[in-house]
Symmetry: D2
Subunit: 261 residues, 4 copies
């Protein structure tokens, strides 16, 4: 069965900015999905901000293995209820790949618990992405570095928690560095942040960037069934304890009572 | 200068439950603050849910090095604006020690990005807290394990992100285990979660638990000045780049324009 | 192409101890390999201490995706040159699954950089292995815990570095706990330590333990080609720098000279 | 009581290379110790390769809180028995700060378990060290970055395990990046690797580098007593189990027998 990937796009600058529209006439999400679709083991579809429920109904999320997220101008327009729904699905085991300016999306900030702030400069400067761990699944097929002739700069400090793994670090022409590829885990879900992707440059037409996206989908995908009870805090009654015990001492809760929240 | 610790208490069961009131006639927060105050290098004060702004004004938080948090029955009654304020101070470098049922507090869940769920049972069973790293600052002065004759059980899975360090793991009479001491980092702030503390048992009168609380305050405290800009995402203009660069290619943003959020 | 797993066994107690021989008449390695072979995606072979070069020639290791290691009585008899060879293959990307008393093997201690010490007791007591992250690939198909009626106890502190992930934690009848499943990364290779496996009990006949072994092989396996230069420290000459630079200041090394080691 | 720091230096190029001698007429170790001594809370002494037992007797190490290590040309000349002695002290809780070309020292490679390889170029190029976590104890008193006009380049991939924390990342004029400040934990000991320090440039006369060295000593120092039993694997007899248990099933070991190693 192919991996079911959904590429979520904000789909605003493609409609309002001629530079972006010329680069991505069908939308960045469509270009990204096409990059994934070059691998027959991935079945990629798209969803956009403007869709009903942003295209992320509970039914669809339940059938999504990996969600890719690109947003920039309209983070605030994403419905909080949808963000909570996506967050719960990540906890249950759906993987999330956050792209470029998605660092400031509601979903990424909620999952990280940090401001996710950084430095930036839109000068079309050169970026060289160094592969820190050449054996990592996400770096497969790359050389020692990937060079992008024109990019928006993102600079450290990038206010995220210490990652599980640092996969890529970028060098910028103007003198900054950035941890451009990092992995995290939240509940059963794994998260990959990947920096490149500014909309005024043809980043998602770059062959190596497209390779990383496909790699990341493979890395992320986990065949485990959804951990649907991940957010529950069940009481284990005394008579269901794994070892025989007897009730001792005073209690707050009566038998069968729910815990506080 | 002493370390300025604030012990925050929900202060509800001490008022409403006779068992808890008998154990903590002045409130659990007062008992915890007294435990800290046995160390002259710590200056401990208290704040409670019922105080104006829950006792956590911006002025007070600015002068707080370490905040300890105990809550259980009224997590939902904590004002979201205060939670955001505390979260920002953690990012800036205030340390946070989350106690027992504080695992389900708004502030802890927001900082972790996960449900923070767990199993539980209130049977007064025996708990043995094993020290995983005997050289850790937080374990100083303890033996190989700490034994609590009567506790509420918390069992794995505890849905938090992989910690920086696992300091304690608990064994329970009824057959469960739990990662009872874990450290995390969020922005400039460090976080320690410490499991013991159920209000119907005299946990905070236990000498070893009190030692851990003092140790954790010392471990947590960081003399660095507040990183007040941690949540800002500054633009670095081309003419202020560390290396000389020239503007290339198309842009979304005009000079001096703020980024999207 | 199936995953090529090699199960390495010390193969001593199977020959010298009647209890062990009765449980594993063809050797523990053979039983473990048979467990892996129940999955047609895995092609499992065996190697033992008594083989020439312990069955781990350079040619064979080059064609091994995942190596499983069980040793106990004869860690010291493993040739240092073979240990170095295995370590280099792990750095290059061969995955390593270390079983039970393999915690004290030369290869595990060299990869961890720590004593890998622990507490132990051979009393046939009950062990309950709790799944910390139910969504982890290695835990797939398990319930919330796995129960082993008779095991050797291993107790914390287990002197290993902080792991990437803690997958399992064990509860023991006699009062101890242990981090029974942990993942690490060394170079391009991933490492999984899995605690159960004492030779006087039928641990590797247990269906859930066998499931974990198969899961771990799938988790570990990385399709990336070997990172054969992982231990090299190449000089990058000035005229091959990615950015144009000129030689400045004094130097220790003449052009083309090797670095110190 | 002041923190007892020992600065270990190889002390070879200071004797044999006129450039290095002019920069460090009393040896690099003396300059580093002087930098530490500017803080009255630190008591810094020195030891060199040429001393009896390399200046690192068991008695001296037992009284050392933090050991700083600089070596380059003669890693192979360091006695294996002394390396083992230092490693054991790190496990027990002595902290270790490894400087620059010390990445290839025996002690660092043994503690990491990886090749610790990297790219390098001696071209006197500019390095900018970015502070990743401005609130970290080790970065105290620094601005957003530290600039060194002439350095030897070290480039990724740096083959070390994923660190606990990434504190600094360097940008190089020639196009590379490097994780220049990382923390690790091995047993009770904490380790900080700090990249700058090439001997043909006046790196250890730089005020900000000296600040980092002092910060790192404060960060590293742990008041816990030595964990002298860290490498022992004690048997816990049935009659000393924390919970009452009875011997069940067959055993390999007779009562009181030592475990295998």
């Amino acid at each position: 069965m192919p991996i079911r990937a959904v590429v979520w796009g904000e789909n605003i600058h493609e409609q309002t900015n001629v530079v972006v529209r010329d680069l991505y006439p069908e939308g960045m999400h469509a270009t990204i999905a096409a990059a994934l679709g070059e691998d027959t083991a991935i079945e990629a579809t798209t969803a956009v901000l403007q869709d009903a429920e942003h295209g992320l109904t509970a039914e669809r999320l339940a059938k999504t293995d990996v969600l890719l997220w690109w947003g920039h101008a309209a983070h605030g327009a994403v419905d909080d209820a949808i963000v909570e729904r996506v967050q719960k699905r990540v906890w249950e085991g759906m993987e999330l790949i956050v792209l470029h300016s998605g660092h400031y999306s509601k979903i990424f900030k909620r999952l990280m618990g940090t401001p996710c702030s950084l430095k930036w400069r839109e000068a079309g400067e050169r970026e060289r992405i160094w592969v820190v761990n050449r054996g990592h699944r996400i770096a497969q097929g790359l050389g020692e570095s990937v060079e992008l002739p024109n990019t928006e700069m993102y600079g450290e400090p990038f206010a995220v928690p210490e990652p599980l793994e640092t996969v890529f670090i970028s060098w910028f022409e103007g003198g900054e560095v950035f941890r451009s590829g990092m992995t995290f885990q939240r509940g059963a879900g794994r998260i990959f942040y990947f920096r490149p992707g500014h909309e005024t440059y043809p980043i998602y037409h770059n062959a190596e960037v497209r390779q990383v996206l496909r790699n990341a989908v493979h890395w992320a995908c986990n065949p485990a069934p959804a951990w649907t009870t991940v957010a529950e805090a069940p009481n284990v009654p005394v008579d269901e304890a794994k070892e025989p015990i007897v009730q001792k001492g005073p209690r707050l809760h009566a038998d069968g009572e729910e815990g506080f929240r």
